[in-house]
């Protein structure tokens, strides 16, 4: 197999995603819907990506996520069916809308408190002041861990995420290894405690499974580690994109205030245009053919979801509220559909409602231009500086 993790990937790494993602997705679409570069295969059309999503027995996830540098297998994202199906039957009910909905008052309270802390200042940096704090608090709440641990948790997870997607685990720096070990120690402590004294949270529910369904500590750690990698940085990224697009569109800010239902449509469109997880990895287990292109067994494959999200759209590269209800692939598809999608959408909705309630009008700080760091693991704006009139904030 091509060692995509350690071999340089100039085609991928040179993608112009920093300033305008539309330019970046065009770059990936230009060579075709299925093609090979630097030993890796790229699938860019809806048809090609759907084929991979629907054939997990060919497009395996098991070897595809090694670059995230987790010391334990990431559950369930790096597991193939049928074992993956077993995990999802257990986990999906814990992240279903009927579980997320009762959490809403608490999640709303948390995001309101975060926004209140800077509303009177007339300025904020979205990642630092909001985007990194909120998703971490939500995961701690879901797992029944104390909110007071939030800042330490963020410190560790940022150090770990810094590694993901760039280096093999063997290249982790001393500081990153230490952060991973500290996080593991912290999680292990909770696993031990919750096995003895279960609470009314998702982590306790997993730990309470018995008999054939019982999870080992290593499996539970793999799940927790996935949440750090997939559940924090991605929502941070989505928050940064949403606030950036609204900051440059005062007309949308006004329209959402007049028609609150429009908020959900704008969120869907920003999710379609700006993908926190831009290239989903798979490894082929057998020779296959996608859209007429042969792919050998053992090939590292990237699903370029952002490219497919622009296909067959009247307004491919901009927010199009008229077509916001049409499906997109930002949360993936097939058996690995993002488990946190319901939670993520709810977090974004509550964040937007509370932000506009406290800060009705805002814009980018003069002279600032948010940019994405690329190559990297997740794709997100490095900083989004907002300003507003504090007279209007009262």
């Amino acid at each position: 197999m091509t060692d995509v993790i350690n071999d340089p990937q100039p085609f991928r790494n040179n993608a112009p995603l920093q300033l305008d993602r539309a330019v970046g997705w065009d770059y990936f679409t230009a060579p075709g819907e299925v093609y090979e570069r630097d030993g890796a295969y790229y699938l860019t059309s809806i048809e090609a990506i759907r084929f991979a999503h629907q054939h997990p027995e060919v497009f395996s996830s098991a070897k595809a996520f090694d670059s995230l540098g987790s010391p334990v297998p990431l559950i369930p994202i790096a597991i193939d069916p049928p074992q993956q199906i077993r995990y999802r039957r257990i986990l999906d009910p814990m992240f279903a809308p009927r579980v997320v909905t009762p959490l809403e008052p608490e999640l709303r309270r948390q995001v309101r408190e975060i926004i209140e802390a800077f509303a009177a200042k007339g300025e904020c940096e979205v990642i630092r002041d909001l985007g990194s704090l909120y998703p971490t608090g939500v995961i701690l709440t879901l797992f029944g861990m104390p909110l007071k641990d939030r800042d330490t948790f963020i410190e560790w997870s940022e150090a770990i995420i810094e590694t993901s997607g760039k280096n093999a685990a063997s290249d982790m720096s001393q500081a990153q290894m230490e952060a991973a070990m500290n996080l593991f120690g912290y999680l292990q402590g909770y696993i031990t405690e919750k096995r003895a004294n279960p609470g009314n949270d998702s982590l306790s529910a997993v730990l309470a499974l018995s008999g054939d369904d019982a999870w080992t500590d290593e499996e539970v750690l793999g799940l927790c580690f996935l949440f750090v990698i997939a559940g924090l940085d991605t929502v941070t990224a989505a928050i940064s994109y949403l606030m950036y697009h609204l900051a440059i569109r005062p007309d949308l800010q006004r329209a959402i205030k007049e028609t609150p239902d429009l908020g959900a449509k704008v969120i869907e469109e920003v999710l379609r245009l700006e993908l926190p997880a831009p290239l989903t990895p798979r490894v082929t287990l057998s020779d296959t053919e996608v859209c007429g292109v042969k792919i050998p067994a053992g090939a590292f494959t990237f699903l370029v979801l952002g490219a497919a999200n622009r296909e067959d759209r009247p307004i491919p590269d901009d927010i199009d509220v008229e077509n916001a209800d049409r499906g997109h692939l930002t949360f993936g598809g097939g058996v690995h559909r993002c488990m946190g999608s319901h939670l993520a959408r709810r977090e974004l909705k509550l964040m937007l409602e509370e932000f506009l309630a406290l800060i009705p009008e805002f814009s980018l700080a003069p002279g600032t231009q948010p940019v994405c760091k690329w190559p990297g693991g997740t794709l997100h704006l490095e900083s989004v500086n907002l300003v507003w009139n504090t007279g209007a904030a009262q």
Binding site: D92, A96, P97, D325, L329
Partner: protein
């Protein structure tokens, strides 16, 4: 005309019941299902078409009955 939901294709994106709750419900896994037998009145066809377009898995179809 009837709306049909294919549980083998559904992976629980939840767009059908979020956007068209009058025609779709959600189960404990967050997967969708059709409320009732799926028979559509003339007024419900547009809403059902919205769900068809919203499903990323193409798990929802309209069929003539």
């Amino acid at each position: 005309m009837k709306v049909v939901h294919n549980p083998d294709l559904c992976t629980g994106h939840g767009r059908c019941y979020a956007l068209v709750p009058e025609l779709f419900g959600d189960d404990e896994f967050g997967h969708g299902y059709v409320l009732g037998d799926g028979t559509l009145t003339a007024e419900q066809v547009a809403a059902a078409q919205r769900a068809v377009a919203a499903c990323p898995e193409r798990a929802i179809t309209l069929v003539d009955d």
